[in-house]
């Protein structure tokens, strides 16, 4: 299957959504369903790990049957935060290639930086919009089975002006960044690398 052939969408993409808020779970589920994702929703990081087969009892091959194509998680959750969940996924041999998106109401460069450095695909500012999900889906489809390093390098070339500070911090990791010429929204809605 050609990576670049976008019309060759295999089957429905399966996303695992993690959020401790009832309301946010309902909304994100709808957002994802309307964007033609197959959605599984859980209320905590530990439930997510259970579902993914990473709960410590076994790091099993069951993942292959579940075939989760994307994990989208809230940052601030009691017990295990989204960041901790992200780390566990990225440290897993079976799941480290699965893109993980962080959602948060905090527009904090430190937090964004931390998440992206840990391997998050994107950082979405809450409340998440339909346009965010659609853009995310395009991004996942285009990336295909590329490894995370390739994805990170590509996305760093498209950062908005507001992330100049972040860019400086990340410069040591990538020499080839080119800042965009025009500013986008007045708020940093998301960090696109």
């Amino acid at each position: 299957m050609e990576i670049n052939n976008l019309s060759c969408e295999p089957k429905e993409l399966h996303v695992l959504a993690v959020d401790d808020s009832n309301i946010d779970r309902k909304v994100i589920q709808k957002l994802l369903q309307i964007s033609s994702f197959k959605v599984t929703v859980v209320e905590s990081g530990s439930r997510a790990l259970q579902y993914l087969g990473l709960d410590g009892e076994q790091e099993s091959d069951q993942f292959n049957d579940l075939k989760v194509n994307l994990i989208i998680t809230d940052y601030s959750m009691p017990g295990m935060t989204g960041f901790e969940l992200l780390k566990k996924i990225k440290n897993s041999s079976t799941l480290k290639e699965v893109p993980v998106v962080i959602m948060s109401s905090e527009n904090s460069l430190t937090r964004i930086d931390k998440c992206l450095e840990e391997g998050a695909e994107e950082y979405l500012l809450k409340p998440v919009k339909l346009s965010d999900v659609r853009r995310l889906k395009d991004s996942i489809l285009k990336s295909g089975p590329m490894n995370m390093d390739q994805i990170r390098t590509q996305k760093r070339k498209h950062k908005p002006d507001q992330l100049q500070i972040l860019q400086t911090a990340l410069d040591c990791h990538d020499q080839n960044m080119s800042p965009p010429t025009s500013p986008q929204q007045s708020q940093t809605k998301r960090a696109r690398l």
Partner: protein, 172 residues
């Protein structure tokens, strides 16, 4: 026709909720997620919010009575409540939540108590307005224009235009 009048009233009520700052763009986002397969989605989300958040408000009330005041717990509770308010587009509620949190950060007990009263006031006001809005919407029934455009066959289109013209004529 009475139904058209009702729809106009509902549209005006909806517009006033935005104009007066009770609701923001997020509410529109929720409306965009509503369709024929889930025609009451917005009302469901709002109902869930009011059910779910009641316990947070109760917990905050309790925490405000404690001495010494545990600002960390208060902030944590309010963070969750504010997050939910943001998710339904409750603009004024959200603003008051922000004021509360800044008083929490400043460890200002009086400020917290005062702004919490405001939070509850806006919360209740919005609840009443939305209840009215949803009730009217249910009474009026579904309207012709859907969130997502339908594609009509030429025949269907012709019939819909003739019906519309006939109704407009009867309405005068």
């Amino acid at each position: 026709m009475q139904r058209n009048q009702m729809h106009r009233q509902i549209a005006n009520l909806r517009k006033s909720l935005f104009d007066q700052g009770y609701l923001d763009e997020q509410f529109v986002q929720l409306e965009e997620l509503q369709d024929n397969s889930n025609p009451n989605f917005v009302e469901e989300v709002v109902s869930l919010f009011y059910r779910d958040s009641a316990r947070f408000l109760y917990s905050i009330d309790q925490a405000l009575e404690k001495r010494p005041m545990d600002f960390s717990t208060l902030d944590s509770l309010m963070h969750h409540f504010k997050s939910s308010s943001t998710s339904i587009g409750a603009k004024k509620v959200k603003t008051e939540c922000t004021h509360f949190r800044s008083h929490c950060n400043a460890r200002n007990a009086e400020g917290c108590k005062r702004t919490f009263q405001q939070v509850k006031k806006e919360y209740t006001t919005l609840k009443k307005k939305l209840e009215t809005y949803f009730q009217m919407s249910r009474q009026a029934g579904p309207i012709e224009v859907e969130c997502r455009p339908r594609v009509l066959s030429p025949f269907q289109y012709l019939i819909s235009r003739i019906s519309y013209l006939a109704l407009s004529f009867l309405n005068t």
